[in-house]
Symmetry: C2
Subunit: 186 residues, 2 copies
DNA sequence: CTACCCATGTAACTGGTTACATGATTAC
DNA sequence: GTAATCATGTAACCAGTTACATGGGTAG
C-alpha cells in the first residue's frame, strides 16, 4: 500500500490535520508522493481505525476546529517493516514526455509553451526547496549537517528534490530551445 | 486517459505486438510511462475497437504468431488533440524516498542496500540509453542532429531519461555514503 | 455581499496491480 | 524433461481521480 506509508512518513515530522497534509502533499511531500485531499481524508480515517495514528481535536476560535494526527508506536513499527522490505520500482508518468516523443508528427507550438511553463514551475520549486534546506540545517554548513545534524531524512529527500527539479528545469529549457530553432529552419 | 496516449506514442515509432510493447515499457518507454503487460493487451484491444490503431497478423514459423499494430490517421489526430491540451502535472511516486524521509527513526542498513541497488539499476539504464542515442543519431554529432536530424522526439526524451538517471545514480550513491558514515559515528 | 481560505467529508467512476490461465517453441 | 522465452489473455481487487456537498470565518 503506497499512500499509507507516505502519510505515516509525513506525520513523523510533525502533527498535521487533513487539510495541512493536503497542502504539504502539494508542495514539499510531492518530492516523493502526490495525493488529493479526498484521498488523504479517507486514508487518515483508515490509519486511525488501524491504530497506526491517533488524532486529537484542536479547538480554534478564529477558524473551524481541526483534528491533528500523530504516529503511534504501532505506526512506527509498520514503517520499520516497510523500510526493511524491497521497494517497488519508482513509478514515473509524464504527459509532456509522451508529447515530446511524437513531436515530429505534431504542431510543436503548444508543446513549447508547456515546456516553458514546466520550467517556470521547476524554478519556483527550486527556490522553495532551497529555503527549506536552509531552515532545516540552521547555522551549520551542509557538510557538517550531513555528518552530525539531527533529522537527516528530510534534508536528504529535499536535496534529491532539488537535483530532480534542476534536471526538469534545464531539460525543459533546452528542449524548448531546440524545438524553437527547428521551427524556424524547417 | 493516460496509457492510451503513451501506447499511441510508442506505436508511432514502429509497429509492435503486445508482447514487444511490454518489453519496451520495461526499458526505454519507461522514461515517460510504465505499464504491465495485462494493461497493454487490454488497452490495445480498446484502441483497435476505437479505430485509433489497426492490427495485422504476422505468421511466424519458429515461434507463436503475433499481432502487430500501427497508428491510424484517426489515432494521429487523437495524439494531436492530446498534445494541444494542457498536460497533467507529472506524477512521481517512490517508496525509497519515503523511507529516506523517516530514516532517522529507522534501521538504515536495509535502506542503504536499496540505495546501492537503485544506483546500479540507474547505471545500467545509462549505458542502455547511451547506446540508443548513438543509434538514433547515426553519423551526426549531437549539435547537428538536434538542429537538422529527423525524428528528434525520441532523441529528446532519451536525453531527458539520461539526465534523470544520472541524478538517480548520483543522489543514491551520495545518500548511501552519508548514511554509512553516520552509522559509524552515532 | 462576494470571493476566497479553512476544514472535512461522500459517491461514482476510472485506472492500475496482482493473481491466475494457457499453450507453443527453443536451449540445455 | 525442465526451464526460459514468446505470445495472449481473464478476473478480482485495490488505488487514485473527479464531481459533489457542506459550512464557518475573513478580507476587500
Amino acid at each position: 500500500m503506497g499512500l499509507r506509508h507516505a502519510v505515516l512518513a509525513a506525520l513523523c515530522d510533525d502533527e498535521y490535520s487533513g487539510y495541512q497534509l493536503a497542502k504539504a502533499f502539494d508542495v514539499g511531500v510531492a518530492n516523493f508522493w502526490s495525493a488529493s485531499s479526498q484521498q488523504l481524508y479517507s486514508e487518515l480515517t483508515r490509519l486511525e481505525q488501524a491504530g497506526l495514528i491517533s488524532g486529537r481535536e484542536v479547538v480554534q476560535l478564529d477558524r473551524p476546529n481541526k483534528r491533528v494526527f500523530t504516529v503511534t508506536p504501532a505506526g512506527l513499527e509498520e514503517l520499520a517493516k516497510f523500510a526493511a522490505a524491497d521497494s517497488k520500482p519508482l513509478s514515473f508518468r509524464d504527459d509532456l514526455l509522451v508529447k515530446i516523443q511524437v513531436i515530429d508528427q505534431l504542431d510543436p507550438e503548444p508543446v513549447i509553451a508547456q515546456l516553458e511553463e514546466r520550467a517556470a514551475e521547476a524554478s519556483a520549486k527550486l527556490e522553495l526547496f532551497g529555503q527549506i534546506l536552509l531552515r532545516l540545517r540552521g547555522d551549520l554548513d551542509e557538510q557538517t549537517y550531513l555528518r552530525r545534524g539531527e533529522q537527516i531524512g528530510p534534508y536528504l529527500t529535499c536535496l534529491g528534490g532539488i537535483r530532480f527539479q534542476q534536471v526538469v528545469r534545464d531539460w525543459s529549457t533546452t528542449t524548448a530551445e531546440v524545438l524553437r530553432q527547428r521551427r524556424g529552419t524547417s
